[in-house]
């Protein structure tokens, strides 16, 4: 007949199981932190900030067109000439919507993503 596990043995087994889960959880966090470090992932707030800047600047440039361009547009007798002037201004605004560049979204801090020193000591 198998020996019935004592309360102590049960508690020890439960403790080991929980510690294993903690290691898994910390490993997952470490992996995500590494993704942030080598730009395989970005923090949402950084992405929103950078894209917000790009879109905001592009919008501002577009909104400036009705104020700045009319003087350059009056007097033109062909649609092509007007399109050329407008296209130049439009392209300047469009340039603010930059192509994807990973370094632009790099986080200034990854504080909570990393494993805190005291946690590592506990693991040791």
């Amino acid at each position: 007949m198998p020996k019935k596990a004592s309360n102590t043995e049960t508690a020890k087994a439960a403790l080991e199981a929980i510690q294993a889960k903690i290691y898994h959880s910390r490993a997952a966090r470490k992996e995500l932190a590494n993704q942030l470090i080598d730009l395989r992932a970005f923090r949402r707030e950084d992405v929103e900030r950078v894209l917000g800047q790009w879109i905001g600047t592009a919008k501002a440039r577009l909104w400036a067109i009705p104020n700045s361009l009319p003087r350059l547009l009056v007097g033109h007798t062909t649609s092509d000439a007007i399109q050329a002037v407008l296209s130049e201004a439009i392209e300047e605004a469009a340039a603010e919507l930059r192509p994807f560049e990973a370094t632009a979204f790099k986080s200034g801090s990854i504080d909570y993503a990393t494993i805190e020193p005291d946690e590592s000591q506990e693991e040791g």
């Binding site: 403790l15 993704q35 894209l51 009705p66 009319p70 547009l73 296209s87 919507l97 909570y112």
Partner: protein
């Protein structure tokens, strides 16, 4: 009188079967030094059962029990009655909860680079396409115009429409993302 394992020992009052051991044997059995055995004996925690000449003999079972009770008592006083393993288990559970919360928070707050690139490039292409239509759309209305104020007004209305369209595209993109998320 020399008695050893498994012999019946006669004392003045009782008849019992026990294992009598020397001071050295007791210290080994309890995992403490002979000096510590003496100290416990002085404090009355361990008592001799008999003597072999001048050397005391101890009842191993009785002494082990007494010593175990003494140690439990000390631990109890030191930990305030809290079982160490239970406390460790409790702390481990709290640590796990903390780690899982941090992990969930991190997962929620990060965007994979490939996903971001794909979304942004698609959005950017659509916006640029719409923006670049603007000159051709508005140019006919401005041909041969000589009033700056009218030109400014025409441009402003057209620009408002352009930005409204861009905002709508952005919202549609968000809606699509939400639907995909569901």
């Amino acid at each position: 009188m020399s008695l050893s394992i498994g012999l019946f020992t006669v004392t003045k009052y009782t008849f019992y079967m026990s294992k009598l051991v020397t001071r050295t044997e007791l210290s080994k059995a309890l995992g403490i030094s002979r000096k510590q055995v003496d100290i416990h004996r002085q404090h009355g925690r361990i008592q001799e059962a008999s003597k072999n000449g001048r050397n005391p003999l101890f009842d191993l079972d009785v002494c082990e029990k007494a010593y175990r009770e003494y140690k439990e008592n000390v631990t109890q006083k030191r930990t305030g009655g809290v079982n160490k393993l239970t406390a460790q288990l409790r702390k481990a559970k709290a640590d796990l909860e903390e780690s899982e919360l941090k992990l969930a928070r991190l997962r929620e707050e990060i965007v994979p680079a490939d996903e971001l690139e794909q979304t942004w490039e698609a959005n950017r292409r659509a916006c640029l396409e719409r923006i670049r239509k603007f000159p051709a759309e508005i140019a006919p209305a401005l041909v041969s115009g000589d009033d700056i104020a009218i030109a400014a007004d025409t441009l402003e209305q057209a620009m408002r429409q352009l930005l409204t369209d861009l905002a709508k595209m952005d919202n549609e993109e968000d809606c699509n993302d939400a639907e995909e998320g569901e």
